[in-house]
């Protein structure tokens, strides 16, 4: 016990103390996101906000323009169709995600939008990435598929996924 440089024997592995974080939150979406989610839930419509200074249409909607640093001042409907900008194919289950791999996550440029939305894409063959690259380079069109009205709750997953056309 007097040796300051501690040496543990093979039977004495360094101890660990168990711990866990599991803290519930209610994140404020804010009025702007609330308007967006209610339009998904009630009308199957996707809206972006417009900055009248640079004319960009932001999706997901923001209450301010990060470039001009002014309030956005208009709502415009975008989509429900668009195209895949880039994608990835997850081969593993993601924590907390109720989706069987393989599945595609993509940046989607909705028609009329100036920015891209991140969401799932289905309806493609995920086993041949080279073919997918070709399809996306040629312009892979997708369309929002909504949950049935009774299941929609004002959430990004009111859009179940985007389906390749």
């Amino acid at each position: 016990m007097n040796d300051p440089d501690v040496k543990l024997t093979a039977k004495e592995q360094p101890l660990t103390i168990p711990g866990q974080w599991n803290i519930a939150y209610q994140y404020a979406a804010g009025k702007t996101a609330t308007r967006f989610f209610l339009a998904l839930r009630d009308n199957e419509r996707i809206y972006g906000t417009q900055c009248s200074s640079c004319n960009r249409i932001l999706v997901p909607p923001r209450s301010f323009c990060d470039r001009c640093f002014v309030k956005t001042d208009g709502w415009l409907e975008v989509g429900p169709e668009g195209y895949v900008v880039t994608f990835a194919i997850s081969q593993r289950r993601s924590p907390g995600i109720d989706r069987e791999p393989p599945y595609m996550v993509a940046l989607i440029r909705l028609d009329g939008a100036s920015t891209n939305l991140i969401h799932f894409v289905e309806g493609c063959d995920f086993t041949d990435p080279e073919q997918l690259l070709k399809r996306v380079r040629a312009g892979l069109r997708v369309r929002a598929k909504f949950l049935p009205l009774s299941q929609r709750k004002g959430h990004i997953f009111d859009i179940q996924s985007f389906v390749a056309l």
Binding site: P60, A88, S94, N116, I118, F120, F157
Partner: protein
């Protein structure tokens, strides 16, 4: 800046699974090593800037409280700095500014991270994601860097093999770094055959979850004593927005391009590829190095794949990239960017031992973090550099 400042001491721990020490002890190990390297005592240090990144990694919120005495903060000003992957670099930049401004004589930047204790690193990385629009999609660091890789593949015909070339080089270099977590002699084929996680990112396109700490001591000309010194010749840090979908081109890191341009101008560099002798790039994923090489202007945009095919970045080339093995071999998240600066400093003071690039007078450290949104470029020179 009011006066020149440079790095006079560097301390690193062995990276990896470090259950032989607690987190405060891990930090102390790097601090002691840096003091020893500089031939200084803790009382010679005027202030300590500590960087730790996601609280959930260490599993103790605001771990600066916890490590205060182990980093020598007692009786001194200290503050925590956190900018995701660039955390350690941000601490070093703040430490530099505190010395260069004349406020302090010697400041230590230290960064400690514990990535090996949590049971699911990707689940906790998902807690970094916006909870309103994006978290539910299950994005994590792997899928984000897969999106970056595919964006580059789509635009520039880059291939999975190009990513594998990056991985193989970093892992082979790590064989000579005694601090490296992974020491694997991986060929391009070994990387190509490794399990697919999120196409096109495979196991060996990703970093390990490493425990570790790094510390650097920054002093002014008047307080360097007899120490070798790595002068800061250029420092720049730029930021992009959070939402990945807002980028014009996801694989083009405009914030890093801005940082490079600014740091080169400060350092008097017009042709980075010929002026810089060695570079340490922060590459937790092969795709981060891929787009970093272009953002730094080492090759023309869109040409990085071809350059890699021609051996760009190899130890035997004119501009070796990551003699240390980079983050692909050791990634103690918030500390990783400080390691890039520490390794660059060791190169210009000719103390990088078995990973030394001969005659290195000018070294670059590139750091990146956040939602592919923070970019720092630091250029270090020795006294011989023109």
């Amino acid at each position: 800046v009011a006066r020149r400042a440079g790095i006079v001491g560097v301390g690193q721990t062995k990276y990896g699974r470090r259950f032989d020490v607690s987190t405060p002890e891990l930090a102390a190990e790097a601090v002691r090593a840096a003091l020893e390297h500089a031939g200084l005592q803790m009382r010679d240090i005027d202030a300590v800037f500590i960087g730790t990144a996601p609280d959930a990694l260490i599993g103790v919120a605001d771990a600066d409280f916890w490590v205060a005495e182990s980093i020598g903060g007692v009786g001194k000003p200290m503050m925590r700095i956190s900018t995701g992957g660039t955390t350690g670099a941000s601490a070093a930049i703040a430490a530099h500014d505190a010395v260069a401004s004349g406020r302090f004589e010697r400041v230590m930047a230290v960064s400690v991270e514990r990535a090996g204790e949590s049971k699911d690193v990707q689940a906790l990385m998902n807690t970094n994601i916006d909870p309103i629009f994006e978290r539910a999609i299950g994005l994590n660091a792997i899928s984000v860097y897969a999106l970056v890789a595919v964006d580059h593949m789509l635009r520039h015909n880059t291939t999975e093999r190009h990513l594998a070339i990056i991985s193989s080089r970093n892992h082979r270099n790590a064989l000579k770094n005694p601090f490296a977590h992974l020491q694997l002699d991986l060929s391009v084929e070994d990387v190509m055959k490794s399990p697919m996680l999120c196409w096109p990112i495979k196991l060996y396109d990703t970093c390990p979850a490493s425990d570790g700490a790094c510390a650097v001591i920054i002093a002014a000309e008047s307080t360097r004593g007899g120490n070798k010194i790595a002068w800061f010749a250029g420092i720049a840090a730029f930021t992009d927005g959070y939402f990945l979908g807002d980028r014009e081109e996801l694989s083009r890191r405009t914030h890093l391009e801005l940082a490079a341009k600014s740091a080169y101008a400060q350092a008097g560099i017009t042709d980075p590829r010929s002026s810089i002798d060695v570079a340490e790039l922060q590459n937790p994923f092969t795709s981060s190095e891929l787009v970093g090489i272009e953002a730094l202007g080492f090759v023309e945009r869109g040409r990085v794949g071809q350059a890699l095919d021609e051996g760009f970045g190899e130890m035997s080339s004119a501009l070796p990239i990551n003699p240390s093995g980079g983050a692909l071999s050791s990634n103690p998240v918030g500390a990783t960017s400080l390691i890039r600066i520490a390794e660059a400093a060791l190169q210009v003071t000719n103390e990088a031992e078995s990973r030394q690039v001969e005659g290195a007078n000018v070294a670059l450290a590139q750091c990146s973090g956040g939602s592919v949104q923070f970019g720092c470029v630091v250029v270090l020179k020795n006294s011989e550099a023109k």
